[in-house]
């Protein structure tokens, strides 16, 4: 075999490892790994890890797999395998080969089968068997830590499929399953109070695979293998994942796409009310909520979240600000990139703002084109394939085990908050200018018109469909809209909006009625497609100006809450209305006390006057 530049190979093999994690389950193939392990040659410049593996089972196959997986991650591994079933002996002897080896890490692999055998061979039952096992385990840690500075990787015990009492098993304190369960809990608890001992959760692997498939009793009886050869690579990978985290390879930030990743559908097309995202609606909407909950949990433990979406920022922000079922809020996102640049640029911006390495970033996007583009331009970024079915994304990400860590400090938990505050400071300095500039750049033009027979069908349609930005949710029919159109005591208005990206068509309906010296808001609804653009501010200016023009003293409105219109709960309050003491959620504004709202929208030419007399 020709010699290969080691730098290239390191890089190449790291990519291959990423490819592997991308397709976890498929690529964790015993034959593939054994072959890869034989062919892998890492240069002397590759980092070296000296790993001791001590087991009460056969560890040769496992050692080869661990070496192959670490090799594919660019790490040269020297492995010392302890003598079979002599863990305590080797650890307690300061002159043993284990300590001469000089390990960086010691893996202690306790097999469930060995525990089972020892348990069943007891001369008499009784005594504190679990306590004895725990004491022995701690004795071994003490010995290792007294003799070397290696980190210890202690396995949990897989729960064997044997059943002696059926469902009663766990009610018997001394049963095998009770013993293993208690032992795992106690061993893990002991590691919490101790530095330098990490957990390798082989029980989690066994239960993920399923014990019936994980265990292969022939392999134990014949060769003392701890599990089926088929699933040994997964055991190896879980050891390797801890080792990589121990060596500092940890994910610090998850960058997520929005449309069809964080929610179903495209918010720019389907509107705020049209995206699939629901805490109780059933179906895909709940899957997206569950993914958001998963991500929020990651954030709570200190992994940063960032957004990278091809969208107008105002549109991308809408669900974060206004969607009632959105789990992630704007505050949860450390860097929010929504523009029309390519996603590699967006991810570079995330890296720069957070000052983290590209290889500590995971990028989640439903779109294969975007994933491939990022893999191509930023090969260090971890880009998992994503299952098409949103309901399986969380399980898939969990299976990849991308978020391994070896410590969880208070700083970790606070880190997300710190980054957050920093990012907010930076942003608040520029945000106002940005949003205003952005809105100005949109060149929005609005037409506000009294209902006309051409638009009545569309007006009625919007009145049927609009749920969220709808103050009273009256569902007027076409006939009722036509009647309003002809009724001189009403001022029924609709608005259409255009901007430099195109025509948004009918976007809002406001029905006003003059009663004595007040202008009453009978209906006010708006398409969520145009949220956060200043349309409602513009229209309120318009309505108040109309009241003034008619010589009216006040504008009065009502908010009728429904299950879906929570986003306009504070609608009147935001414009300076005061709440009336009359029953219902009724509000009043003195026309003379109104503060003109800022809105970067022009009234377009051809607008008709509001009192029903048509210009022509």
């Amino acid at each position: 075999m020709s010699s290969v530049n080691s730098g290239f190979l390191d890089r190449h093999s790291r990519q291959e490892y990423r490819q592997l994690t991308k397709n976890a389950g498929v690529q964790l193939d015993y034959q593939r790994l054994v072959s890869a392990g034989k062919r892998l040659k890492l240069g002397d410049s590759a980092p070296l890890l000296k790993l001791a593996i001590l087991g009460d089972c056969s560890t040769q196959q496992l050692a080869a797999l661990v070496k192959a997986l670490l090799g594919e991650a660019g790490i040269r591994t020297e492995i010392h395998e302890g003598e079979f079933d002599a863990i305590e002996l080797q650890c307690c002897d300061p002159a043993s080969a284990l300590y001469r080896f000089g390990a960086d890490a010691v893996v202690i692999l306790n097999s469930a089968q060995a525990l089972r055998a020892a348990y069943l061979h007891q001369a008499t039952e009784g005594g504190d068997y679990a306590g004895d096992c725990l004491a022995r385990t701690i004795r071994i840690w003490d010995a290792i830590q007294a003799n070397c500075s290696a980190v210890i990787l202690q396995s949990t015990f897989a729960i064997v499929p044997d059943s002696y009492f059926g469902n009663f098993e766990l009610k018997v304190p001394g049963s095998l399953r009770s013993l293993i369960t208690a032992l795992n809990a106690n061993v893990v608890a002991a590691t919490r109070e101790r530095t330098g001992v990490l957990i390798h959760d082989i029980e989690a692997v066994a239960s993920w695979v399923g014990r019936r498939l994980f265990f292969d009793e022939r392999m134990w009886d014949l060769w003392k293998l701890p599990c089926s050869l088929e699933h040994l690579p997964r055991v190896a990978k879980s050891i390797v994942d801890v080792m990589l985290a121990f060596r500092g390879r940890i994910v610090k930030c998850v960058v997520v796409d929005l449309d069809n990743t964080l929610w179903g559908g495209v918010v720019g097309d389907d509107g705020l009310e049209g995206i699939e995202l629901s805490t109780h609606g059933g179906g895909a909407g709940e899957s997206f909520v569950r993914l958001q909950l998963y991500l929020r949990q990651l954030r709570r433990r200190g992994i940063l979240l960032a957004v990278c979406s091809k969208n107008d920022e105002a549109v991308a922000l809408m669900p974060f600000l206004h969607h009632p079922d959105m789990v992630l809020r704007r505050d949860d996102i450390s860097v929010f990139v929504a523009n029309w640049d390519d996603k590699a640029s967006g991810i570079r911006r995330v890296r720069d703002e957070l000052n983290i390495a590209l290889d500590s970033i995971v990028f989640l996007d439903d779109n294969a084109f975007e994933r491939n583009l990022v893999r191509e331009l930023l090969p260090e970024v971890i880009v998992p394939e994503l299952p098409e079915d949103p309901s399986s994304v969380v399980a898939f990400l969990s299976e990849l085990n991308l978020f391994e860590t070896t410590s969880l400090s208070k700083e970790d938990l606070q880190r997300a908050m710190q980054y957050q505050r920093e990012a907010q400071r930076r942003e608040s300095a520029t945000r106002c200018a940005n949003v205003q500039e952005f809105l100005q750049s949109l060149d929005m033009q609005i037409v506000v018109t009294r209902f006309d027979r051409f638009q009545v069908p569309r007006i009625a349609q919007l009145m049927q469909r609009s749920n969220q930005f709808n103050l009273c949710t009256r569902r007027l029919s076409e006939t009722e809209c036509s009647a309003l159109m002809r009724d001189e005591s009403f001022i029924p208005l609709y608005a259409t909006l255009t901007d430099r990206f195109g025509d948004h068509g009918l976007i809002s309906v406001v029905v006003l009625e003059q009663q004595q010296d007040a202008l009453i808001v009978r209906d006010w609804l708006m398409s969520c497609r145009v949220l956060a653009r200043g349309v409602e501010q513009f229209l309120m200016n318009h309505v108040v100006a109309q009241a003034a023009q008619l010589g009216l003293k006040s504008v009065v409105g009502e908010y009728i809450p429904t299950a879906k219109n929570g986003m306009v709960r504070d609608f009147f309050q935001q414009f300076g209305f005061t709440r009336l003491s009359t029953p219902g959620d009724r509000w009043m504004l003195n026309v003379s006390g109104y503060l003109q709202q800022e809105a970067f929208i022009r009234l377009a030419q051809g607008a008709r006057s509001m009192n029903g007399t048509e210009d022509s």
Binding site: S35, K38, L229
Partner: protein, 83 residues
Amino acid sequence: MQSSNSTAERMSRIFREVFDDPSINIRDDMTSEDIDAWDSLTHIHLIFAIEKEFKIVFTVGEAGSSLKNVGELRMLIEKKIGG
């Protein structure tokens, strides 16, 4: 010429992979003496690979038995797949 899907040919492919030697063509009279890499460790791998390829499950006795030669292994496989 042997059909590429005969038991022997499928076994040859497995042997080449497991023993990492593309030149292997099995014969019935071959024993572990004839293949350098055939030791207790690779034997486990061989059993695993055969089970996967032929979708069969050896009993503990079959998996651990010291078969006289490759021919015996081939006949055992054929018996188990009901060929």
